[in-house]
Symmetry: C2
Subunit: 205 residues, 2 copies
């Protein structure tokens, strides 16, 4: 940011710019969004963008940060309740909230997530990974019998990455071959069956 906004008015402008960034991004994708579009949507002049952002890239950076922060803010408060549920319900619950979150504001974040998969989405996304790992850890703590499962980091990796991608892809698909509930149920079954089978295997040793 070239300059910090000090007055209330200026803060509103910065907000409007970031807001407009999301809208433009959702409409046309990141490559096709221009500074003029962002400025028009925000209802400010193009020059104003450069008062608070070094360049277009920085707008995207701030958007990315906000996206991740919002996602974490969505998940954090869910942890205490989710952690106490049986595994299947826990997954379904989390996925439901995730879908609602992606679809809020006219699917703003869904459309962003779609492009974010390609963008340099690695740096900013780390805190999100951490939050999800935290969720898994806490879940395991509340269900000590699951601690015997092998390869927990691997399974977390698969379910987090594969799960997020499946959901985003499904929600983006105008004619998906299965319903969202089927997908969510499938993911929940996947996790629960896996844990059950693993626990059975450990038991039998």
């Amino acid at each position: 940011m070239a300059r910090k906004p000090v007055q209330q008015r200026a803060k509103a402008t910065v907000d409007a710019i970031v807001e407009a960034g999301f809208i433009a991004m959702a409409e046309r994708g990141p490559a096709a969004t221009t500074t003029r579009q962002i400025a028009d949507i925000a209802g400010v002049g193009v020059g104003s963008l450069y008062e608070y952002f070094e360049n277009k890239e920085e707008i995207f950076q701030v958007m990315s940060e906000r996206f991740v922060a919002d996602t974490i803010a969505m998940i954090q408060p869910l942890i205490p309740t989710i952690v106490r549920k049986p595994i299947k319900e826990a997954v379904l619950d989390l996925l439901g909230h995730f879908r609602d979150f992606l679809q809020a504001n006219n699917e703003r974040y869904l459309k962003c997530a779609r492009y974010a998969m390609a963008l340099d989405f690695e740096q900013h996304v780390e805190p999100l990974q951490k939050t999800l790992s935290e969720l898994v850890t806490q879940y395991l703590m509340h269900h000590p019998e699951t601690l015997k499962i092998r390869n927990i980091p691997t399974m977390s990796y698969i379910m987090i990455n594969g799960g997020i991608y499946s959901v985003v892809r499904h929600l983006c698909d105008p004619a998906p071959p299965i319903t969202f509930d089927e997908l969510a149920g499938g993911l929940a079954d996947m996790v629960s069956h896996y844990t059950e089978r693993e626990m059975a295997l450990v038991e039998s040793q």
Copy 2:
């Protein structure tokens, strides 16, 4: 294509252009690749591009088609052998070949796949989906006991999408938290545990 190449020389030019497209794409991503770069890498003049392609977009289209065709050509011959293996080995085998395929030619297709996730690359990818569905179907035919599993379409959807994404993401990650073998093993366990548990559930009814 604006014009069809008739002479041998011209066919080589077209090939060089598409080839150069992959190299440029892998280096900088699709948004940042310019016609000049492609032409330079291909060792032809910029004008030559427009002899055989209407515009830059068409070059990407042809690349996309070739990518999908190559992927299918990689998978098709594997089907007969994979289909006869136990589920875990089958998954491991397929994933191993998939990794080798993505990493060939200096990771050309891996780098493309990374960006392809965002691009509107859905149309061309349909034949690939079909091939993978075919693989699943044939597998089920060779293992009749698995036909009782519920939600096969849903599980295919999850494993195909989630699996592909996990692998691509993992291979792109310079410092992955787990090894590729762990990931592949995890995916294989996921599938095998799921099928075992499902079959046990069906049995007990």
